[in-house]
């Protein structure tokens, strides 16, 4: 039997953690783009667009991410293409992230006083111009802390992609635990690496929120 040193375990986990980071970045970036589109639909004037957007949000927030991953994996293969796990994982995570970001950002847009809409409308701005020049710049400021906070959920969410066979940190942990017969150490390290990735994000979200609250109180 081959002996595994602690360093062997940690080194291989860290190598796999790169894929967790890459997948998190892809999911977050893609989710932000799709989420922005859903946000525009959600607060648009057309009823059909609003119904579609809230249905989308309800569907993706009301079902397990695991089921979404399976549906993405098996659904894409119905189209007759060989689906690599990373593609199915990326698509499902992007759509899932988008539903949460759209809802978080809607709250931020709605927190902007109505007078801002009315004032900009009275200046003859169109809806897109209002969003671009008046609403979004102000909403962005209050959106940063909860958005950073949600990024922690994205990093943790990527662990589920191990179940459809994408080799990232959680999957590597399973493989190494099975090879070394040391699940306590291996999953301990896996948890530690996730913690190192997530904790700074959580803390900076809290820090930004406190800073924002102070800024608001000084008005």
């Amino acid at each position: 039997m081959i002996e595994f040193t602690t360093w062997d375990i940690l080194r291989n986990l860290l190598l796999a953690a790169r894929w967790t980071v890459v997948l998190s970045l892809v999911a977050f970036t893609g989710g932000a783009i799709v989420g922005l589109a859903i946000l525009f639909l959600r607060i648009s004037k057309g009823k059909a667009a609003r119904v579609f957007a809230s249905g989308y949000i309800e569907l993706f927030q009301g079902t397990p991410l695991l089921m979404q991953l399976f549906l993405s994996f098996f659904g894409l293969s119905l189209l007759g293409i060989e689906v690599p796990a990373w593609l199915a994982a990326g698509i499902a995570l992007i759509l899932w992230t988008a539903s949460f970001l759209a809802e978080i950002w809607r709250g931020c847009v709605e927190a902007i006083p109505k007078g801002q809409w009315e004032a900009s409308a009275s200046l003859g701005m169109g809806r897109l111009q209002q969003m671009r020049h008046v609403i979004l710049p102000q909403a962005l400021k209050i959106a940063v802390p909860p958005t950073v906070g949600f990024s922690v959920q994205v990093v943790k969410g990527t662990s589920l992609t191990s179940i459809i066979g994408f080799t990232e940190l959680a999957k590597a942990g399973q493989v190494i635990a099975n090879a070394t017969f040391a699940p306590f150490t291996v999953y301990g390290f896996v948890a530690l690496i996730y913690f190192v990735l997530c904790f700074p994000l959580s803390k900076s979200s809290q820090f930004l929120e406190r800073k924002l609250n102070v800024a608001h109180r000084n008005h």
Partner: protein
Amino acid sequence: MGYVFDYSWLGQYSGVLIKGVWLTVWLILVGATFGVALGVACAWARALGPMWLRPIVGGYVEVIRNTPFLIQLFFIFFGLASIGFQFSETTAALTAMIINLGAYGCEIIRAGIQATAKGQFEAGWSLGMSRLQTFWHVVLIPSLQRIWPALSSQIVILMLGSAVVSQIAAEDLSYAADFIQSRNFRAFETYIVATLIYLALAILLRQLLKGVGWLLFPKRSAAR
């Protein structure tokens, strides 16, 4: 080449699905009850408890909130088993859910407790209430009422997250779906059905929690 959807297996496997739904429901009902209780205890410890206890509870909360539920589950089921603490699949799943909700619940409830004005404590004591009575009637119940919506969302998130307990072979709804799709070779349809059941459960759970909120907190004029 068109794909023909086939749901004819539903009748044959409805028993398996119902058994899976039952475990998912049981896990969330028991898990949420004990998880909220743990959350209350931790929130008390973190906000008002002895000084030596506060950093310990704080560490627990941060570790749980910054690691994936799947890894917590694996650590409890595989990791602890390897050093001599063996649990059944269902017990491990339930334990992981309670520990997970305990940490999130702690942060949510603590926010409610810390929003209680100091004068409220003093008012409670001046009425001759003991510390425990003051905590329960003056601090905790109004706090819970304030944060009930946030706590409810967290419980729904936990129910959806519990789908991964199938990975340690706890026989919940997602396990039932895995089992069925390995027999009928209709993976997409099977997961569609399971997903819709989860959606229905999430909607029902939200309504149930709203009802529980109404029961626990009948309109209190002095809630704030």
